[in-house]
Amino acid sequence: MNPGAVQRGPVPPIRPEYDRVLAPFVEAPVERALPRAARLWQQDWLRKGLIIAALALIWEGLARWQDNDLLLPGFLATMSALADGLVDGELLDRVRISLAVLIQGYLAGIVLAFGLTTLAVSTQFGRDLLSTLTAMFNPLPAIALLPLALLWFGLGSGSLIFVLIHSVLWPMALNTYAGFQGVPETLRMTGRNYGLRGPSYVLRILIPAALPAILSGLKIGWAFAWRTLIAAELVFGAASGRGGLGWYIFQNRNELYTDRVFAGLVLVIVIGLVVENLIFSAFERLTVRRWGMAR
């Protein structure tokens, strides 16, 4: 290779051999509990808290600089509106109403998504159906469904749930299906080797193996459910004065109580953060992270 070097290149030295008797390994435990787990957790909160604080600061700064509190109230003004709303109990009430509907729609969307995807993994027809339906309906805005919802479900929460399902179902199905498709062939064969098929195959092999993709579908679905709910409550939500958070936002927006609007939005954010950091990330820690499927 290197013609200028020694003819056959370097030769390693010949070293003496040795052979030791190893005492049984006792010097350190082969396994020991991780000590700083708790501390790390706190730091996680700390770091995220700092990010949130920084965002709040930027917000307040922007608001002061723009100086247009009817359009963009500051962080502090929003907080005081939020406090007022929480103290007089109105906001919590609204949140309760919204969450009740949201969760119903979300769960229904998830179940339907799994049904559709199960069909898609088992038959060619299901595959075509899924790809056609998602390509068709996913881009449709909720207003397209409004007339149908009015006709079929009327003005109650039935329509809200219908629209929520529309917003959760398609992204969820797309992600779940992509996750299913990425399941390693060997794992699939293992499952089928043990005689699993149909729903039990999906449940015991595909779903856990595709969990990372499903999880991000769940997160996206959750977010879009919120977005849709707030938009849809403007239309369906206020029957008999029982409007949720979306209605609260809409009404105050119409009355130009922009600080209350932002208080409502902050509540959406807070709920989002709580769900992300308590529910989703705990779920992640207990599943994909523990199983080494995501770091």
Binding site: P184, M189, T190, N193, G195, R290, W291, G292
Partner: protein
């Protein structure tokens, strides 16, 4: 193995015939394999051609394979890398349908996979990563056998101990080394106590010591349960030790070149004269790469 025979069930009728113990036979190059001996094989592979279809082209993995695997056989497939051993095993397991020929199990054509033929795959990702070692081993027991929870756990523990992974029973697969993962797969397959066991280079990732232990374990279990084993390996020694019959496949696309008896070797015979000779013979056979230039070597059953 003798079940109520009906006249219409040909394979069962065949079973009832007397079992001829054919002595050493020399065969011409065109000879048909041993199935002529009259004993009906449990797993019968007849003219099986296997192909992979990719969007761009079709790859033929094996070409017109004829093999008979009898009940309680420890049948070994030996052949160069890429010759279609894994593919053939997967076809026997029911994952790949032949484009030509037929595979029958006890006379019934193989249509799909099932828990009657448990497979140990060659790949390391056959363990569901969301199950601990213990759960992994118990998994098929619960899924396919509908064993009770307690029972499945106990059986799982027993086989985990056999592969020496008791300290890791609660670890997840990603926390194991390559060899350890393969051992979990082996434990899982053994725990199923299947009638037919298909193993694809199960010991390839194991060190000499562990490998030896696993071989012992496998043979001991076979002695006990007399399952039928189809075993892929690339180690000649292992083929002779584990198998009672070894099929040699040609390079890509795989065709059966020879079948050799090895029932007289076990772990104890390693190092013996006869064993070394057999190894040497197979070695020579494998190292003759060019089929055209080679004269047919007449072999004698040992």
């Amino acid at each position: 193995m003798i079940s109520a025979a009906t006249l219409s069930d040909l394979s069962v009728l065949e079973l009832a015939e007397p079992r001829p113990r054919a002595p050493v036979r020399r065969e011409a190059a065109s000879a048909r394999p041993a199935s002529e001996s009259g004993e009906s094989p449990l797993l019968r592979i007849r003219g099986v051609t296997l192909e992979y279809r990719t969007p761009a082209r079709v790859v033929r993995a094996t070409h017109r394979i004829d093999l008979d695997i009898h009940e309680a056989d420890r049948f070994v497939l030996l052949g160069p890398s890429g010759c279609g051993k894994s593919t053939l095993l997967k076809a026997a397991a029911g994952f790949i349908a032949p484009v030509e020929g037929e595979i029958t199990l006890a006379g019934v054509p193989v249509r799909g996979p099932g828990p009657d033929r448990i497979v140990v795959f060659q790949e390391f990702d056959q363990l569901p990563p969301w199950k601990t070692v213990a759960q992994n081993v118990a998994f098929p027991l619960r899924a396919a056998r509908s064993l009770g929870r307690r029972e499945a756990q106990e059986r799982a523990r027993h086989y985990i101990d056999k592969v020496g992974l008791t300290p890791f029973a609660d670890s997840y697969p990603h926390q194991l080394s390559g060899g350890m993962k393969q051992r979990v797969a082996i434990a899982r397959a053994l725990a199923m106590q299947p009638k037919v066991l298909l193993m694809d280079e199960p010991f390839a990732a194991l060190d000499a010591l562990t490998r030896r232990r696993m071989q012992e374990e496998l043979l001991a279990l076979w002695d006990e349960a007399r399952f039928t084993l189809l075993f892929v390996t690339h180690s000649i020694e292992e083929a002779l030790v584990v198998g009672n019959r070894v099929a040699l496949l040609s390079p890509h696309p795989g065709r059966v070149r020879a079948e050799i008896n090895s029932h007289e070797f076990d772990l104890g015979s390693i190092g013996s004269r006869a064993f070394q000779a057999a190894v040497q013979r197979l070695h020579t056979r494998l190292f003759e790469t060019d089929p055209e230039t080679r004269a047919p070597t007449r072999t004698t059953a040992s």
